[in-house]
């Protein structure tokens, strides 16, 4: 279905904050660490109600990753909080050695991912994080699409043993998924069934893909719309079955095409069911300052870009 009831507009980072607070109540093993961005990460409520399980680490992200790895020794489940840029590239070796290779049960929670961080500009707009994290053996990579899904994913990853990268963002976007939903790691959400084109979307691009699908269907192009919230492990069956049905694929992500969802879907289909494919994402470029909407339009991540990609890939040429 495509006719969602919008439950207002909210930021995915607030979904994380609410989920973390719920975990504080329900799971005494959950601890939280933050590198001087409590307000930005919406960790205030957890800090207020569970001060003995909250750790301020200052502007020292490398140390934070090591601390989190160490806190698992003794049975705790650490959630680290900082911007996506400082959660990945800045601390890649710490994550690689002390967390992923060491199989530590750390949840790396990353806000302000992608272009929609906005005015701060390219230094902070990481567009390579999904690629970096997906390459690490043993890492689970999740990029939810709205407030409710982010909250549910935050709660779900505490029950999963192993390192997780949870990516979310800064801007307010439509909240359209169900409140208090159950989040299933690695199980794609089949939003809508159609026969002409498959659209695989993640993160903030999912709502744009819903709007694009409505426009496409109005023109007689039916869309098989799938939300890939878990990029690793990928729901290969859902991807391949949809591609077999439609024979035409569009991927949509707020990330570099290379190394991101587009690469991963293309690699999967190349192996199991080679299919025509178009990629909506950032094309080998850094971002810049601007409002989120301006940036998404300039870098080709708008609703119209998804529609255009779907038309290109379904053309008989």
């Amino acid at each position: 279905m495509l006719d969602f009831t919008i439950h207002g507009s909210n930021d995915t980072r607030s979904g994380f904050g609410e989920g973390l607070h719920e975990l504080g109540k329900s799971n005494p093993k959950v601890v939280a660490l933050c590198a001087d961005l409590i307000g930005s990460l919406k960790m205030d409520a957890f800090k207020k109600d569970f001060p003995e399980r909250f750790y301020q680490v200052g502007i020292a992200e490398a140390n934070m990753m090591g601390l989190a790895a160490g806190m698992t020794i003794g049975g705790y489940i650490p959630f680290t909080g900082t911007f996506a840029n400082f959660s990945t590239g800045r601390v890649y070796d710490q994550i690689r050695q002390s967390i992923a290779y060491s199989d530590k049960n750390v949840k790396i929670c990353a806000s302000h991912a992608g272009l929609t961080l906005g005015e701060d500009g390219a230094t902070h707009q990481i567009l390579e994080d999904i690629g970096m994290m997906s390459m690490l053996p043993n890492m689970t990579v999740i990029n939810p699409c709205d407030f409710n899904q982010t909250k549910a994913a935050t709660i779900a990853i505490a029950e999963h043993h192993g390192p997780v990268y949870l990516r979310f963002g800064r801007p307010k976007v439509a909240t359209f998924t169900a409140p208090d939903q159950k989040f299933e790691i690695g199980k794609a959400w089949h939003i809508h069934s159609g026969n002409h084109v498959s659209i695989f979307a993640t993160g903030h691009m999912v709502w744009k893909a819903v709007e694009a699908a409505k426009a496409l269907e109005a023109e007689g192009i039916t869309v098989d719309l799938i939300n890939i919230h878990t990029i690793k492990p990928l729901d290969v069956e859902a991807v391949v079955n949809s591609a077999k049905k439609t024979g035409a694929v569009v991927t949509a992500e707020e990330h570099q095409i290379t190394g991101g969802l587009g690469s991963i879907i293309a690699q999967t289909l190349a192996k199991y069911h080679p299919t025509k494919i178009e990629f909506v994402g950032v094309n080998d470029s850094f971002g810049e300052s601007g409002t989120p909407d301006q940036l998404m339009e300039k870098y080709g991540l708008g609703v119209k870009d998804i529609i255009a990609a779907a038309k290109r890939v379904t053309s008989k040429s």
Binding site: G66, A69, P78, D93, Q97, S102
Partner: protein, 281 residues
């Protein structure tokens, strides 16, 4: 708890294990391993309360040790096996295919005694501090120990961790720096001068003591003193003076044996200087 004489016998055997392990695969790091032998032996056979026969990753109610300068894995592997964490015979697999004794320590193959991978330098202090805070949350009164190379202090993350430890008053940790003055490219003072380490660590809010690291009695006494300094609101640092390559005269005091294995003749020479006390693996 072993007597100093017993500890010295164990140390002699551990040094034999080290040179034999690196010789067998013509790779590995004998210099730092030999220099830190007395310290690691004293930790496991005297200072620490460990459960070698009941290995658990969480290590609740036992003391934990983190080797941050993971390249001196031979000394740690030897001591862990001699303490009973895994069979001594497994030392023969060091650095070979399908071994649990990887070139640098790792949890990945499930070797008992190892709680995090190390080797990429500068990360172990952060991990140990996290483990120390987990102990506090668990109301677990046991201690966390770490060892770092002096060259490793050139990594910035060490100082992030140093600042954090004092700020959070983590006083259930005893860290040690292997001050041997050597790193791969030469003496530390030539490569990147470390300056006054006591003043640096004190300025970062640590309680600092110095210790001669190649005198077993001094190490035993020093560790007892360090323990008495815990629980007082500050992290504890031991600046431990050692000689790289200690125990094998031609390896001693030079960076040349940092990461080089002895040949057959050199091995025979080295073993002639180290008494076989517990039986070779």
């Amino acid at each position: 708890m072993s007597t100093t004489a017993e500890l010295q016998k164990i140390a002699s055997q551990v040094r034999r294990d080290i040179v034999r392990m690196v010789h067998a695969v013509n790779s590995g790091h004998p210099g730092g391993s030999l220099g830190c032998t007395d310290y690691i032996v004293a930790l496991y056979f005297n200072a620490m309360n460990v459960k070698a026969d009941q290995w658990s990753m969480d290590g609740v109610n036992e003391d934990l040790f983190f080797l941050s300068n993971g390249h001196i894995s031979p000394v740690w592997y030897s001591v862990l096996s001699r303490k009973g964490f895994f069979p001594v015979a497994e030392l023969a697999t060091f650095r070979k295919l399908d071994s649990r004794l990887q070139g640098h320590p790792t949890t990945h193959e499930g070797l008992p005694g190892i709680r995090v991978a190390s080797g990429s330098l500068g990360q172990g202090l952060s991990v140990a501090l996290g483990a120390a805070q987990a102990k506090k949350l668990n109301n677990d009164p046991s201690l966390v120990y770490t060892l770092h190379g002096d060259g490793e202090l050139q990594e910035g993350q060490i100082w992030e961790a140093a600042m954090y430890a004092a700020h959070h008053k983590i006083d259930n940790i005893i860290s040690a720096i292997d001050v041997n003055g050597q790193q791969i490219d030469g003496p530390t003072e030539k490569v990147m001068n470390l300056g006054n380490l006591r003043m640096k660590w004190e300025a970062f809010g640590w309680d600092v003591m110095e210790m001669e690291g190649n005198d077993m009695q001094a190490v035993v006494d020093g560790l007892a003193k360090a323990k008495s300094m815990t629980g007082k609101g500050k992290p504890v640092m031991i600046l431990m003076t050692t000689s790289m390559g200690k125990g094998v005269d031609f390896m001693e005091g030079t960076h040349k044996w940092h990461g080089v294995a002895p040949n057959d003749a050199e091995l025979a020479n080295a073993l002639g200087q180290l008494e076989e006390t517990l039986g070779d693996y």
